[in-house]
């Protein structure tokens, strides 16, 4: 690794994607969707304008969690499911850092489900990228908490019995302040979502549909293949009516009985369509949108579901420290020990 990149004598240095590539050989299976995500993240990083030494990637366990080894930043490949907890400790003690969590559907939603929801509700300053391939890859092909019901795998020869999670629903249910979804192969869309996630103050949760070409190939083809994607990608754009289809002929509207429904624009007229508001405080509408599909099994929204402001945990904690110091003065150890009832002998 070379020295000096990513920082100068206070003067910002122009970085390139290459600066974020580590010297480690990437060891994902050829054709894995993780390559595309890695390349998009490395390509996006220079836009952050943050020197490399102030960027940290923390992961758990699973294929996606090898990610930090390939980033020429600070990084930690931790243990299964715990990355949000570890990253929380780093983020609240080092507000000067940009902390990213890389996780997968098993890591974040199964073994680490508890840490994920609590990081989200606290609004710790973390950017959480969940690579969802709806399968356990590193353990060679068992069903995951996002696998569709009835999935035939090595551990479920007669089909899985578990109702799957919709990760965006989980995040919205935990009242995350930033929730988005993108697709590994759509670099432009993914980069735009990452840009918005990075700009968000607090926890940003990004689900990335990621193809596992070995154990669950084609899980998201409906949203990716040229013949089907127009009819199945509902691209959410702030301030715009929600439309999809090759010519925008379909759309989403709010029905009189309080649901969102897919409609033909010709039937209802453009003015009847729901206009997407990602800054809407109240999360129910975003939740309804994410319920339009459960996996990527039909028309599925991608983009930013929710992006709202709420006090950031790290800042609240620092604020308490500052307030205590302002009130009591900087802590004095001798004074602390001599507090309470003391007495003198001799």
């Amino acid at each position: 690794m070379s020295l000096g990149n990513g920082h100068g004598n206070g003067a910002p240095v122009k970085l390139t994607a290459k600066d974020f590539k580590s010297d480690q050989e990437v060891r994902w299976c050829p054709g894995c969707g993780d390559y595309a995500i890695l390349s998009a993240v490395q390509g996006f990083m220079p836009q952050l304008g943050i020197p490399r030494e102030r960027i940290v990637f923390i992961s758990g366990i699973g294929c996606s969690s090898r990610f930090p080894y390939y980033m020429n930043t600070y990084g930690m490949h931790s243990i299964h499911g715990r990355a949000p907890a570890i990253a929380t400790g780093l983020s609240v003690t080092r507000p000067d850092l940009s902390v990213w969590v890389i996780t997968g559907d098993g890591d974040a939603l199964s073994i680490g489900g508890n840490h994920l929801i609590h990081a989200l509700r606290r609004n710790v300053n973390l950017k959480i990228l969940l690579f969802n391939n709806q399968i356990y890859g590193l353990t060679k092909g068992q069903y995951s908490p996002t696998s569709e019901l009835g999935k035939i795998t090595k551990s479920t020869p007669m089909g899985s019995l578990d109702h799957p999670f919709n990760p965006v629903s989980v995040a919205l249910g935990a009242e995350a302040t930033f929730v988005a979804r993108s697709i590994d192969s759509d670099r432009a869309h993914l980069t735009e979502v990452l840009r918005k996630a990075a700009a968000h103050r607090g926890t940003a949760f990004v689900e990335i549909y990621q193809n596992c070409n070995i154990f669950n190939d084609g899980a998201f083809d409906l949203l990716k293949e040229p013949e089907t994607r127009d009819d199945n990608q509902i691209r959410l754009e702030h301030g715009k009516p929600i439309r999809f289809g090759a010519d925008g002929e379909r759309g989403v509207r709010l029905t009189g009985d309080g649901r969102v429904a897919l409609v033909e624009v010709a039937d209802v007229g453009e003015d009847a369509l729901l206009v997407h508001d990602e800054h809407r405080e109240e999360p129910s509408l975003a939740f309804m949108l994410c319920r339009l599909s459960h996996g990527a099994d039909g028309p599925t929204p991608i983009g930013v579901f929710r992006d709202v402001e709420r006090p950031v945990y790290d800042e609240l904690m620092s604020g308490q420290l500052e307030a205590a110091t302002a009130r009591q003065g900087r802590g004095d150890l001798a004074k602390l020990l001599h507090g309470g009832d003391t007495w003198q002998l001799g």
Binding site: Q24, E53, R82, T88, H118, L321, A324
Partner: protein, 617 residues
Amino acid sequence: MTKPVQVLDRVTIRFAGDSGDGMQLTGDRFTSETAAFGNDLSTLPDFPAEIRAPAGSIPGVSGFQLHFADHDILTPGDAPDVLVAMNPAALRANLGDLPKGASLIVNTDSFTARNLDKAGYASNPLQDGTLADYQVHEVALTSMTLEALKEFDISKKEAERAKNMFALGLMSWLYHRPTEATVAFLEKKFAARPLIARANVTAFKAGWNFGETTEAFAVSYEVKPARLRPGTYRNISGNLALAYGLVAASQLSGRPLFLGAYPITPASDILHELSKHKAFGVRTFQAEDEIAGVGAALGAAFGGSLGVTTSSGPGIALKAETIGLAVSLELPLLVIDIQRSGPSTGMPTKTEQADLLQVLYGRNGEAPVPVVAPCTPSDCFHAAVEAARIALKYRTPVVLLSDGYLANGSEPWLLPDVDALPDISVPSATEPNHEGDFWPYLRDETTLARPWAVPGTPGLEHRIGGLEKADGTGNISYDPENHDRMVHLRAAKVAGIAADIAPLEVDHQDGSRQLVLGWGSTYGPIGAAVRRVRASGARVSVAHLRHLNPFPANLGEVLAAYDKVLIPEMNLGQLRMLVRARYLVDAIGYNRVRGLPFKAEELADAIIGLLDEGAHK
């Protein structure tokens, strides 16, 4: 008329009552008065895990034992000389511990048919001869408290609640305790409710006056101040001392303190205490679970903080995988285990020493972790600083093994000179260390510690993880020889700490062939037992381990110098197993796991038994 005063050299008092009777507060206040008077003292609170078990029931009994003396003492006392029983359940639960001839002060007002029934008494023990062997002082505590407070415009319930202060006043008179501090304490505690403050002070003074005027107490007692080392003292519990030790370690290392913790008895008080010290830059994080608590602490350590997690046995079990990660990452981390009775939930408010093997071996793979154990409540301060020193210097997780007895027990503490505390700071890495590159696992030749390069340091960007790393570069490695080398290096690093800790000190008695070896909170009872044995004319030596991993370098030599080694532990022989395995010494155990500290008497008997055995050989 002045009543006669009898001078005693030491007294053990136990206050016992319903959980709602305020016995812990009463005990705390009596302790403060006793400390201010200048006695040496040691306390043992004994309370149920249930917050409010049914009133008047045996499970709801809460107790507080205090031993004070005109000389230095080591334990809260084997058995009370005086029992204050606020209700029949408190009497029934504690009577078995009372030696014949001891004094009993009972609140007669609570001996109603209903309360007797709840305590399981078929007849009234005050009348049926049950207490014939004791000096019983029957005091109508409740009604006299109500009488004293009749002028107050407060409810009967509120007035009744002051009966513990009446009892405290009476006991303060009986033992010549200074009262000013308690009056000041009550005024401060109830500052927002001045009427209640006055009622409590009135009840307290009424109790004192009752003692002075009643014929129920013919004599009062005096225990002269102890001649302790000169200096400034305060009374301190183990958990408070430990919390202060962590603040001190942060100051002495120049590293901000981060505590990640999940509430658990008997460790929660450390979280409570540290959450008050934000002006020291202390960050406390009440995590969603035990795993997140240690995870966040490790994350903070990665960022350059002094990362700490506090828990008890069940929580330590949950943290095991993360402690293993810290072993692999070679980052400083303090893991504090306030041991309690197990297995599983066990007896949460009761003490035990049965986590030693868990913290040493309860992880996958070869995952060595240094272990430090405090021996008295105030020693928790110094042990915390020592544990932090090792963690920071050797970049390793360190376990600090306290227990429920140390955590809640208290003793006078000769306050240390802050300026004389050790400098435990270690530098972070700032420069590349290998031909212009940074190798995160290039070790210091002496300590074998790897460099601690914190994020934000330009040019030292690196990745670490739980996968095996190549020696030096830290890159992922599956090379068989490298793994073997790394396993040995990690073990050697921890073993090497033996050269950096104090040798085991032996309190050797000339001519003795037997050694009593202890660790942790058995220090007091073992010391008291050894004094008894020596006072009886027998010869025995004693030593106490602070470091359980690595052991002090001279331990083998010490053990070899004696014919017999007795290891008393509140477990089934965990240190004994280690000593036998490591030094091939046929150590003998004394093992009781009752959730209570050992009594000096039982240990003295065990030592005498060992000596007799030796004599018959």
